[in-house]
C-alpha cells in the first residue's frame, strides 16, 4: 500500500524548556503537524507516542499523561521506545498500522525532555547489571572505544570526524528549529576538551528538550489531504544480538541489512547517486562516518575520504544532514523522527533556508542500542 507523510511539526528545541511540561512539549509539535496537514485531532485514527527510556524523565508510562494534552481521548494510543531509534520505530509502527488496515491516518509524536534527568547515569542502566554497568559511561565510553578501533582499522581519524562537526554545525545555522547554532572550526574541535577520548566536547551534540510529530496517511487519504505528500519508499528496523560472538563492531550489521532491504523496496541500486539528500542520526561525529559505510555511500574504509571531498556538505552531490542533524538538536526520543520529518520536508520543498534544491529522494538512518538496533527509511516526492 502507498503511504505518505502529510504533515510534520517540531518544537523549538532548547537545553531546557521551563515553560512547558513533558506533555506540553509533545503537544507543541502535534499542533504544528496538524496545522501543516490542515487536519484536527478528529481526523486522526490512531496515535503512537515515542519517547526514550522512562528513566530519562522520571515519568513511567508517560503516554497515559499525554492523552490529555494531545486531545487523544477515546483513540487507540500506544507507546514505542527504542533508544536513539525510538522515533523511527514509532514511524514504523504507524506504517504497520496503516498497512494492516487498522488505521488510515496515524499521528506519531516523539519527544524527550532530557533536561529533567541525569542523562549518562540513565543511559548506563541500559547495560546488563551483571556485565559492564559498573564501568559504563552512558553510551559514550562504548561509542568512543569503537571509534578508537575504527580509527585504527578504517582510518576514521579525529580530523575526519571534526569535519562532520564543522559541516553539521554550519548547516544547523540555517535551521530555525536548531537548538545550537554556532559554527566551529576543525582546530576548535580538535582542541576541545576530551570527554571520552577520542570523543571530545565538540564531537558531541547538545542535550535537548524537544519533540517532533509526523502524520502518516494511506494513499488516497494522503492525496486528499495535501498536493505534496512525501511518499514512503521503504522503511525497516533491524537488530543484532547485543553480545553475540565475534562482533567486531567495525560495521553495524543490522544497518547494512536494513539499508539493503530499504534500497530493494525503494528501487535504489546506487544510493550515493540516486538519493538527493540524507538525514542520519549522529549522536557523536564518529557515527556519521560509520554510517556512510554502513549505508553503502562509500566503500568500507572510505568514509574519511568522503567527508573530506565535501560531497556530503550542502552544495555537494549528496548533502547529509542539511538540518544540522543531532549537532543542531538532540532530544533523544525525538531525534530519529526529526530525521524522517526533515527528509519529508526536503522532498516536498518545505525545508526553507536549508532546502536542497530540487530534492526528490531522501535517505533516513536512525538507531538505538549498542550498534545493534538500526533503522533505515527512504522517502520521495514520487508516489510509490
Amino acid at each position: 500500500m502507498s503511504i505518505a507523510i502529510v504533515g510534520t511539526g517540531q518544537t523549538v528545541h532548547a537545553r531546557r524548556r521551563t515553560d512547558v511540561s513533558q506533555a506540553g512539549l509533545a503537544r507543541e509539535a502535534v499542533i504544528e503537524a496538524l496545522a501543516d496537514a490542515g487536519l484536527t485531532m478528529d481526523d486522526i485514527d490512531s496515535v503512537i507516542v515515542a519517547s526514550g527510556p522512562a528513566m530519562f524523565g522520571a515519568v513511567n508510562q508517560p503516554e497515559k499523561w499525554l492523552v490529555d494534552a494531545l486531545g487523544a481521548r477515546y483513540k487507540p494510543l500506544v507507546r514505542v521506545t527504542s533508544g536513539g531509534g525510538t522515533g523511527l520505530a514509532g514511524a514504523l509502527a504507524a506504517i504497520n498500522q496503516i498497512n494492516g488496515g487498522s488505521a488510515r491516518r496515524v499521528l506519531v509524536v516523539a519527544y524527550d525532555k532530557l533536561s529533567e534527568g541525569a542523562l549518562q547515569a540513565s543511559i548506563s542502566t541500559l547495560y546488563d547489571p551483571f556485565w559492564g554497568r559498573e564501568f559504563a559511561v552512558g553510551i559514550m565510553g562504548f561509542a568512543a572505544a569503537y571509534w578508537h578501533a575504527r580509527i585504527e582499522k578504517l582510518g576514521h581519524t579525529e580530523e575526519a570526524a571534526a569535519l562532520v562537526a564543522v559541516k553539521n554545525r554550519r548547516q544547523a545555522m540555517a535551521n530555525p528549529k536548531a537548538h545550537v547554532r554556532r559554527e566551529v572550526t576543525v582546530d576548535e574541535v580538535m582542541a576541545s576538551r576530551p570527554l571520552c577520548w577520542p570523543i571530545k566536547l565538540l564531537d558531541v551534540p547538545p542535550i535537548s528538550d524537544g519533540a517532533c510529530a509526523v502524520i502518516f496517511a494511506a494513499g488516497g487519504d494522503a492525496e486528499a489531504i495535501t498536493d505534496r505528500p512525501a511518499w514512503i519508499h521503504g522503511m525497516t528496523y533491524y537488530s543484532e544480538a547485543d553480545n553475540g560472538a565475534d562482533r567486531s563492531m567495525l560495521q553495524s550489521e543490522p544497518l547494512q541489512i536494513a539499508a539493503a532491504k530499504v534500497y530493494k523496496q525503494a528501487g535504489i541500486t546506487n544510493p550515493f547517486r540516486q538519493f538527493d539528500v540524507a538525514e542520519v542520526q549522529e549522536p557523536y561525529t564518529c557515527f556519521e562516518l560509520s554510517y556512510y559505510e554502513g549505508l553503502g555511500l562509500c566503500p568500507e574504509g572510505g568514509a574519511a575520504e568522503l567527508i573530506e571531498s565535501g560531497e556530503t556538505a550542502m552544495g555537494g552531490s549528496l548533502p547529509v544532514n542539511p538540518s544540522g542533524g543531532c549537532m543542531g538538536a538532540n532530544p533523544i526520543g525525538a531525534t530519529a523522527l526529526i530525521r524522517l520529518a526533515e527528509a519529508a520536508m526536503q522532498v516536498t520543498g518545505k525545508a526553507g533556508d536549508h532546502q536542497v534544491v530540487g530534492a526528490e529522494r531522501a535517505l533516513v538512518q536512525a538507531g538505538g542500542g549498542w550498534a545493534n538496533l538500526r533503522g533505515v527509511a527512504a522517502v520521495g516526492a514520487e508516489k510509490r
Binding site: V67, S115, E152, A245
Partner: protein, 313 residues
Amino acid sequence: MKGETMTTTDAPTASDEMESLAAQLRMPYTLTPGWATGIFLAELGRHRLIGSRHGDTISVPAQDFSGTSGEPTEGLVEVAPVGALQGFTTTADGTLGLVLIDGTDIPMIHRLLDFDSETLQIGARVEAVWSDKPVGSMLDLAGFALASSSESFSPRAVPGDLLPPVLQVDYSMTLDYQHAYGPYYGTLFNAVKYDRRLRGVTCTKCARVLLPPRAMCDVCFAPTSQWVDIDAVGTVQASSIVHIEFIGQRMKPPYVYSEIVLDGTSTRLIHMIGDVDAEDAKTAATPGARVRAVWSDRRTGSLTDIDYFKLIP
C-alpha cells in the same frame, strides 16, 4: 550460597547458584510542571488553591490542557480550600483520599490527616491543612483534615497578585533491585568470588566459547553445553579514555573503558584498564593490546572482583 569447588564439566545446579545481586539506582531530577500547575504550586505557599477552567469543567490542581479536548485552559480560578471526601484507602504509611473541592469537577488525590474510623466516611467535609514551611512543592498542601467550619466559596477570579509559576520541581528516585543470578551468571560469579576463575560455555554447534555464559548461542541459536575455564588474559578489542564526570558515576575519572576478548572466547568483557597514565593509554591501551586481570581483595561475586586489567608489556 555454597562455596564447594566445581569441576570444569559440571552443569550448573541449584546448589551452585548465588541468589541475587543487589543493585541500587539513585537518580536526581528537575521536573517541569508547566504554566498552570506551576502557578498552582506557587500559590500553595499563600494558602490558595488555584484551578483551571476548561469549558464547563474546573480542574484542581490547575492543568495546562483539557483532558476532554486537549485544548489549552481558558483561564485560572481560585477555589475554596474545602471539599467533600469521595473515596479513601489506608496503608501502613497513612491514608490517601480523593477530595472533590467545592465547585470543581474532578477529585484530587492527597493525604488525609487526623481522621479516625468514626470520621473517615465518604461524603465527609474536609479542609486544607497547610505546611508551615512552603518549598514550592505539592506538599506545601500538607493534606486534608475534617472541616472545622462550613465556610466555602464558589470558584472565583484569581487574585491580582498571582505568583509566577514554579518552573522546576526537584525530585529524586532511589530504586533498589535484586537481580537474580540464575544458573549461568550464578556459576560464573560463584567461581569468580570463591575460586577467582572465569567460566564460559561452549556452543554445541559452532564451538565458540561465550562469556558471560548463557543457555543458547546467540548466533547459531543452538544450546550451549560444556563449561570452560577461561584465563583472565586477553586482547583489547576497543578502548576509550574517560574524562567526563557525571552524576551516578561509579569511578573517579580518568580511567580507561575497555572491551576485552579473553583468550579462547568470542565475546566481549567490559572492564577498565588500570595502572596506566591517561595520555599514555592513547597508544598503549589501544585495540590489539594484551591485558591480564588484577584481582581485588573484595569478594562480591561481580566483575568488580577484578580491580582492573593491566597491560602486558
